[in-house]
Amino acid sequence: MNNFLEIKNLSIAFPGNHLVNTLNNFNLKLEKNGSLGIVGESGSGKTLSMLALTRLLPKQAIVSSGSIDFLNHNLSEIDNLNFYRNFSGKKISMIFQEPMTALNPVYTIGRQLMHTYMYHNKVGKKEAHHKSLEMLSSVKLSDNLERMKQYPHQLSGGQRQRVMIAMALINNPSLLIADEPTTALDVTVQKEIINLIQELKEKFGMALIFISHDLGVVSQVSKNIIVMKRGDIIETGKTYNVLNKPKKLYTKTLISCLKNLNTKRKKNQRQKNNKIIEVKNLSKIYKLPSKLFSAKKIINAVNDINFSVYEGETLSIIGESGSGKSTVAKMLNGLLTPDRGEILISNKDVNKLDTNERAEMIQPVFQDPYSTLNPNHTIGYIIARPLILNKPFLFDELRNLVLKTMDLVGLDKGFYYRFPNQLSGGQRQRVAIARAIILEPKILICDEPTSSLDVTIQEQILQLLKNLKQKLGITIILISHDISVVKYLSERILVMLDGEIVETGDTISTLQNPKKEYTKKLMSAVYEI
């Protein structure tokens, strides 16, 4: 009972799963002002344990065993009313992943902050207003009087997350739980938010539990670490010890995956191959339709860019969301028509290509494994469809070709008659790759092919892409915001910001010695172990 926070043997189950616990014998100890990181892939139960602590578990969840001691209270003996009044928001605060949706869109920032303060402290509006302003400045927001009158949608993602932090800290909690607070933010903003959290932790003297899927980030923030997988704690201990002397296989794989991705590779010798793609003065403008109260908006998604891709190389286009990289990818694929400029693939304008001709030339792999496959088609049909459409007279050979390709991407034959919903994310992404390569195209455009996947799966998919490139000699254009993925796979990179190319060059040298301010910022935001 001397601990600040101790969770013992916490197990949580959901009905309908034959009592398979989604969280199994979870234990945790945290001292006052301490810091703890919980790492795990999606479904590992890392968030669930904290939701149980803050009593935010989904309704159908059943806590089947366990006890929680916090500040010398046995929380299981405290009824909900008491808990809401005296603990949540007051002693324990939580910040969440999605700053876009975590603030109420119909109330001003000021109202939300003030309400939270007034609710736990019997104070007047004036004082609450004053306190809110103070909190906003402590999370380093400016123009705070104006800010108070603004609505969440008027702020950027980083600003919203700051407001969330201000709201969480407004009642001086002794424990802050941060659930993936930076995952949804741009790389450059991530760093700022993490620094802010660390700074405020010291300033307010509170304990911090930091939940993340990113081992790098967690190792940066917390002294202790818990590694979780499928509801079980795999390993726990001091961060340094766990990282350097992992005891369990899973932790080892996790670390090696990260390290693999980050291995410093030798500078590639550029083979002087032919230009396979030439992009000239490419521009794309989006016109957002005028809505009530707002006039038409014009966005220069891609602004007059030029670049070339050589046969057999892997080129990465890197940039944050909104930089125009996906627009470029879609235009390369002919899925969007450029407003100006042209794209030549093997000296032919991609928009003037016959669709079948184009299909045999260039194929895409998309980000989201859940929407990339038509849920009504079987895997076999999905992979065979490019052949059916482009080479209609294959008949018997068709099945063999499909099976061969499935084998190539590491899919079991048994999946032939399955439906997408029966597959895991990684398997779906393999199907998507199989569909893309079955026509043996010259170019593969991978738009964030791994960013929705867990780290271990991510590594496997990247490995697959690498192998395919070697076996088939395919040219790959990789779109990503993740420096480590880029480093792992590509020979050349192209940094984009606001629709323009900021920097381009050889991967290793560019990343090691970035010339432009923006590239530097990007690089500094990467956490390494």
Binding site: S65, Q363, L389, N390
Partner: protein, 328 residues
């Protein structure tokens, strides 16, 4: 229970315990078995359809046979009723049970017919607008606004004036007035799907617009369309009843329920069964169709929270202390 047994017999593989191995239709089956409203609606609808098809043959009385000396006989549960005419007779001495049973066919024909007409119009426009966007979308939107602003009943009356009433005309008129929901749903679904990666992928592998529409879009909006379809069947049945009630729908002596209610309206207080019986029939049919539709919506909604598992198999002893926070 019966549902479960039949389903288990037909699709044993749907009851595998490994949930990740279920095909889409198996998931549908598992979910529907756990949806009480859906089962109830389906059962009731099947019974009503059965009665509509075979009922008139079972009782063996023609709904058109008149006997003016046996007018307005009360039903069996009212004093003076007899077994010869279980639901009594109407103002022309026709057997009311036979007329109500036969009316099922009229309601179903018109309900399904009109909803079908509406569906064809609605999804054609909806897919065109959703897929092509731009001026096509704007044109369709204009049509939609026109249709929504149209005082349907008045127009239906005028049109029936113009052409004269018959079952076909009523089906067409109701169908032409009820396509907006199909349009709105299929358009927004198409808009959503056309930007999904698998449509882009289909585009990239060389599928033509029409192949994409028929192979990628229509099968994936079908779930929502079926839901709307069932709800529209209910609406169409009620519209027919309203039109017939106002005297511009189905022609006598065809026994439409709306017409029966209209005919019994004057005797409301003294022969109340004349309006209550067809009213209940109408109510039951529409309720069963609506429950079926609501159930389908719940079952096919990917975000629905219906359990796939039949029962929560949780020994109570395992429930130690529940510190789960309950909302409020």
């Amino acid at each position: 229970m019966i549902f479960e047994l039949i389903a288990k017999r037909l699709y044993p593989q749907a009851f595998s315990n490994n949930l990740s191995e279920l095909e889409p239709k198996h998931i549908f089956l598992r979910k529907s078995i756990n949806h009480l409203g859906f089962k109830f609606g389906l059962t009731m609808l099947l019974i009503i359809v059965f009665l509509g098809i075979f009922g008139p043959y079972i009782i063996g009385i023609s709904p058109y046979e008149q006997d003016l000396t046996k007018r307005l006989l009360p039903p069996i549960w009212v004093e003076g009723g007899n077994w010869e005419h279980i639901f009594g007779t109407d103002g022309n001495g026709r057997d009311y049970l036979a007329r109500i049973l036969y009316g099922t066919r009229i309601s179903l024909t018109i309900g399904f017919g009109a909803a079908f007409v509406g569906m064809i119009i609605g999804i054609t426009l909806g897919i065109l607008a959703g897929y092509f966007g731009g001026w096509v979308d704007q044109l369709v939107n204009y049509l939609l606004t026109c249709q929504l602003a149209l005082p349907g009943l008045l127009l239906a009356m005028t049109v029936v004036f113009l052409i004269g009433p018959s079952i076909t005309v009523v089906i067409l008129v109701i169908g032409v007035l009820h396509w907006t929901l199909f349009l709105v749903v299929s358009r927004s679904a198409t808009q959503r799907i056309r930007n999904l990666d698998y449509v882009l992928a289909a585009n990239a592998i060389g599928a033509s617009k029409y192949q994409i529409i028929f192979s990628d879009i229509i099968p994936n909006i079908l779930n929502q369309i079926i839901v709307i379809f069932t709800l529209e069947v209910g609406i169409a049945i009620l519209s027919e009843a309203s039109l017939s009630f106002l005297g511009v729908g189905i022609q006598p002596p065809t026994p439409s329920w709306g017409l029966l209610i209209a005919e019994g309206r004057e005797a409301l207080f003294f022969q109340p069964w004349l309006i209550i019986l067809p009213g209940i029939a109408l109510f039951l049919l529409v309720v069963s169709i609506n429950m079926l539709g609501d159930g389908l919506r719940d079952i096919t909604d990917p975000n629905s929270k219906i359990e796939i598992q039949s029962k929560v198999e949780m020994p109570l002893s395992n429930l130690k202390k529940n510190i789960n926070s309950k909302k409020n």
